[in-house]
């Protein structure tokens, strides 16, 4: 609920004095006439919250990665004999696209800090297209693989890990699209008010980092 900033600063100053010397603090108790509760507004904690949440989300992938590495280290041969070889070229190109998109969306973050909402829209559109190309490439790869979900343990882990990540890319695209659409509304994001853009960008970096680990683990290692 609302508060008048004057009261807020007043109260903070008050508590500080009081901490130093309780006796002084109570010489100026607030007037009983002040009936509506005053609220100290707290700083924007959404970025902090998002980072904590993404850390947790990262642990989900860490769990799956460790499971994959364990399956792999326990197996007598990996991938199990008879598994068709994975094509590396397409995913490598895909990796380059996704990693570059992280730099692209970062430009949006820089642009909004200069209050350039027009540039934000273009950078977001570019990121969206790059992410969509990545997903399309992933679907293309799925269609041309010679093994299915239940072929063997390697195939299952491959599909579940990439699928799980792909789902995160999809969620990222939805976030980028909705923030992008909201940016069309004048004044939705300003120099000092751009959490949505920042959040989309942080999430997208997260999805990227996960993919790099995944790519190295599944295709290169």
């Amino acid at each position: 609920m609302q508060t008048s900033p004057a009261i807020t600063t007043d109260l903070i100053a008050d508590s500080v004095t009081e901490e130093l010397n309780p006796a002084i603090a109570h010489s100026n108790t607030h007037s009983p006439a002040q009936s509506h509760p005053a609220h100290a507004e707290h700083p924007d904690l959404r970025r902090f919250g998002l980072l904590v949440f993404l850390f947790s989300e990262g642990m989900l992938f860490v769990g799956l990665f460790v499971a994959y590495l364990t399956f792999r280290s326990v197996a007598t041969s990996w991938p199990p004999e008879g598994t068709p070889k994975l094509e590396v070229l397409l995913p490598a190109v895909n990796t380059v696209i996704l990693v570059s998109s992280s730099f692209v969306i970062h430009q949006a973050d820089i642009a909004i800090k200069k209050d350039n909402i027009k540039a934000v829209r273009w950078w977001f559109a570019a990121t969206f297209i790059m992410g969509a190309v990545f997903l399309a490439g992933q679907i293309y790869e799925y269609q041309h693989l010679e093994f299915g979900l239940t072929t063997n343990l390697f195939a299952s882990t491959f599909y579940v890990l990439t699928g799980f990540h792909g789902f995160h890319v999809f969620v990222g695209l939805m976030i980028i699209a909705s923030v992008g659409l909201r940016s069309l509304k004048p004044g939705a994001f300003l120099e000092g008010k751009h959490y949505g853009i920042e959040a989309a960008s942080i999430y997208w970096h997260f999805v990227d980092v996960i993919w790099v680990v995944l790519f190295l683990m599944l295709y290169i290692l």
Partner: protein, 556 residues
Amino acid sequence: MTQTQIQPISAASNQNPSEHPERHWRDYFTFCVDHKVIGIQYLVTTFFFYLVGGVLASIVRGELATPDQDLLPPGVYNQMFTMHGTIMIFLWIVPAVTGGFGNYLIPLMIGARDMAFPKLNAIAFWLIIPGALMLMGSFFVGSSESGWTAYPPLSLITEFKVGQALWIFSIIVLGTSSILAAVNFVVTIWAMRMPGMGLFQMPLFCWSMLATSCLVIVATPVLAGAMTLLAFDLLAGTSFFNPTGGGNPVVYQHLFWFYSHPAVYVMILPVFGMISEILPVHSRKPIFGYKAIAYSSMFICVLGLVVWAHHMFTSGTPDWLRVFFMIATLLIAVPTGIKVFSWVATIWGGKLRLNSAMLFALGFVSMFVVGGLSGVTLASVPIDIHVHDTYYVVAHFHYVLFGGSVFGIYAGFYHWYPKIVGRMLNEFWGKVHFVLTFVGFNLCFFPMHILGLQGMPRRVAQYDPQFATINQICSFGAFILAISTFPFLFNAVWCWFKGEKAIANPWHALTLEWTTASPPIVENWENEPELLTDPYDYGMGHTYDQQGHVILANAS
């Protein structure tokens, strides 16, 4: 010596109640974002599931009253103990101590108006409902019968695939709720403390909730990963954990216990915090070793993440790994012991008030020590191999989860009920409740140590007749325990409407939640709360006015 009269902060709220938005009873059934409403929603909802889980436990003990399998078909018996365990953990203790007491108390204790993300808070609570509906719904299609651990391949070869799948999805939903709540707690405790309250001026409950939330954030997603893979195995025919398809069931056990061992600390750490609040108030002494208790919470949080494989000493775990996990597990007894010693030193020589809250708190300390000691014996590899999957283990974890967590929750109920409801509980019935619970609990679970050492396996409906007498004692205790909930329930419901009105600070406690009215007004305080003392400055000559507000004794 001079005394400074402190203006009671909530005095104005009594003068002009009409100027404040009042809580309507409908708010408690809607998507309300007030942390106090959400806390009550959690507590009432989870207590309902406690009763459901208790009915299941009574049925299980009914079956075990005789050596023959006569009350239930074996499959149904398996469903009963599976659902009992799952409900008690995921729908009672975890949400009650974190979501319930955490939500209600944390903002009040740190002088905040609400949690950092009130909407997220409400979402976390309302996720409990679909999770619970799925779990309860699975009763009607044949629920999971693979125990609360759902080890594959047992969980994969079930005849009730739908029930097992519902169980998995329910755990994922409840886990998500738990993670969202934990994110909220970490941010709130870290960044929303009132000006002047440093980390070491926080009440110890805040420290324990911080440690708990860190554990949830690190460990719960791993469980969600395990559950996802298990769901694929069950429904899509993959074989991550199915040995017949080349999978590895032990990987599931590692992932599962990486969450489920820390989950034990998720269930007990907030209770440690509550006990650290209750003991000093009713002993009228400062807490002994504030920093030791605060640090030991964080130490348990870190160490609790690297002990999980002690549940798997018999799962073909290599010797060197068993030794590592044995030592790590034994080490956990150190921070826990520090806490117990601090509590004992706190009550030592204090002016004890033996009211219901204090009785349950003292009951907690003594019962938890029994559970802790049996835990130390179980940590030792040779003993664990001998008693693995016997009633010794059942005795151990009921001593920590019931003798520990549930006793602590009851202590918390009695201690904070006047604040939450604004009325006092009846002390006589509170004591009746305590005596019945204490006697029933020990009758029910202590003999199980002996059963386990004699070799009675857990999770069986039918057992060797030589165990019959001890089992009858256990079942008798279980029924006393079941009956013990009635005085509590009637007391809580009756006093909600008819109890004696509570003043702001009936226990003369010094933490911030007692500086506002009982129940607290919407937005918690009339004006910004004031930090007059450290949270445990008892026995320093402070006096209290009619509403229980502290009047500082200034040594001059």
